[in-house]
């Protein structure tokens, strides 16, 4: 029982990690707390659902399209809601307010389109196959989710730490002005980070939509709150931190809702977040700034 719940927690946590990576990347590089990130996840799930339902394309194609369109949605979000604020030295509140506005717009459009209903994928989108190993019930779906998330995270690490573009992104994270003086085009860096964040959120959306077989206009909000905990736990801006914290959170949440109370699970989670902010506001891992010093 315990090991089974542990496994379920890891699967959920992998998706949280995927989603939180985008949030932490944008915050770490540009110091923007993007509260509309959850809406991008929701739209990724919607796009995946519409593609599978209306065009009959297989799920991998829907996942890929959900990622690409989610990425572009995130870039558009940056251009509309954040870029006009950049020339002006505002306080933190400006970007937060702007992203709350963008979040409202994206959610209410989805609400109109779906008629505020919860949609589900057509039957048999993902084959139901269950293996019994080591006394655990492991479904093909769970294996696929963990494998897909692992591939994406490894790809993100290779990109950030092994390519020239990744070096540029980390240079901007360290100091945007200095990076500009050294010939980095900051606009292209903004494009990259927002596209990657959106693509990861889109992927997380499609995966969540298939895993719970439910896509609704509100699905982003709940995940967004989990992502706060992940991002603070892992350290705002830390990529490895987000991965570890995501897995940890998935496990903790699953275990508390099974063994303590599913109603109190949220209160425990946010209580944890609050305590953590008090004890160690920088998170358990160092930020991207520290990593940026290793080239």
């Amino acid at each position: 029982m315990f090991a089974q719940q542990l496994l379920n927690g890891v699967v959920v946590g992998a998706v949280y990690a995927l989603f939180s990576l985008g949030l932490t990347l944008v915050f770490g590089v540009h110091q923007i707390l993007n509260l509309a990130h959850g809406a991008v996840l929701m739209w990724g799930a919607m796009i995946g659902l519409f593609i599978v339902t209306f065009t009959g394309l297989p799920l991998p194609a829907a996942l890929a399209l959900g990622m690409v369109l989610g990425g572009f949605l995130s870039v558009v979000l940056d251009l509309v809601a954040f870029q006009p604020l950049r020339s002006r030295q505002g306080d933190h509140l400006t970007t937060i307010v702007s992203s709350i506005g963008a979040n409202l717009i994206l959610i209410s459009i989805a609400q109109r389109i779906t008629g505020a209903q919860t949609l589900s994928f057509p039957f048999g989108t993902f084959p139901v196959r269950i293996y019994s190993e080591f006394g655990l019930r492991i479904s093909l779906q769970q294996i696929t989710i963990v494998a897909a998330v692992a591939v994406m995270i490894v790809a993100l690490f290779l990109y950030l730490f092994r390519t020239r573009m990744g070096v540029e992104v980390r240079a901007v994270a360290l100091n945007e002005r200095m990076a500009m003086l050294l010939g980095v085009n900051p606009r292209f860096v903004y494009f990259q980070t927002f596209f990657i964040a959106g693509a990861l959120a889109g992927a997380a959306g499609v995966i969540l939509g298939v895993a719970f077989n439910a896509v609704s206009y509100q699905m982003g909000d709940a995940v967004m709150l989990q992502a706060f905990v992940v991002v603070v736990l892992g350290g705002m801006g830390s990529v490895p931190g987000a991965v570890c914290a995501g897995l940890f959170l998935g496990v903790v949440q699953t275990l508390t809702s099974v063994f303590i109370s599913s109603q109190l699970s949220d209160a425990i989670l946010f209580g944890l977040l609050f305590l953590l902010l008090l004890v160690r506001p920088t998170g358990l891992f160092a930020g991207l700034h520290a990593e940026a010093r290793r080239v």
Binding site: F27, Q31, L33, V80, A81, P84, L85, R88, G90, D91, H92, L93, T94, I96, V97, S98, I100, G101, A102, N103, L104, I105, I107, S108, I109, Q111, D221, L225, F228, V229, V232, M236, S261, Q263, L264, D266, A267, F270, G271, L273, F274, L277, L278, P281
Partner: protein, 299 residues
Amino acid sequence: MRSFVLTYEPLFEIICIYCGLAFSQYLPLRAGVYSLATPGFVSIGAYAGAYAVLRLGLGAPAGAALATLLAGLVGLILALPLARLRGHFQTIATIAFMEIMVSLEFYAEPLTGGALGMNGIPKLVGAWQLLLFVVVLTGFLAVLKRTGIGRAFDAIRQDPTVARSLGIAIGRYHCLALALSGAVGGLSGSLLAYDTYSLMPDQFGFGMLVTALAAVILGGRSSVAGPIVGTIVLLLLPEVFRPFAEHRLLLQGALLILIIIYLPQGIVDTLGRRIGMRFAARRRALSLSDPRGHGVPAP
């Protein structure tokens, strides 16, 4: 006339209550605390007020006083951990506070009725009481603005480092701002309970936060009139433009982005500054024409 009053009385009452919410959101922002805890305070006040009337058998004034004290106390307690945080982290912590409150209200069924909500609260306040509430609150905040406290808030918001170098105890003023925000939020919450018959936990979530925050951003973050103007504009827009009513959220979102980009000071503060500049120009012209040169030097 009578039908007009009957039609718009509920809207007027809601506008008054949301003015209180907007003031609760305005107070910490004015003092440079990035707190989004208002819905949490309002929910504490609403449930405390309703509980006092329904279960403790108190009257509306006593219930409102209890709600104000309780939420103010929670604000004061919340200020202690927030003092250790800055900027974005204060925002995240207060959003967490709001969510903790919502999930506790779902959980504490004996106190709050859980997901079914708290029903059958008698209607104890009318339009006149609510108008009085807004007028008194506005007067209080206007006086606060003129005192040393208001000036200290302004200094902290504009530059915490300078404020500290001038000998302003930032932590103490942050505590004061949050306690006041809690008290005002709690009072508005109790009035909300006495006005709307029933309370549900998920009423005090992001939706309420967005409306309160949008009212402050729209109206202006520095003048006292700002939150009132913001609330009126925000709640009247869907009534005036009927086709917009079903796109209320869309409109609110677009308004938030447009205002923060093009009118970051809000309606009242921008207008106030324009008028102030015109007066300054006039004074300059007067002082130039003054042969003895006793005019006020132009800034």
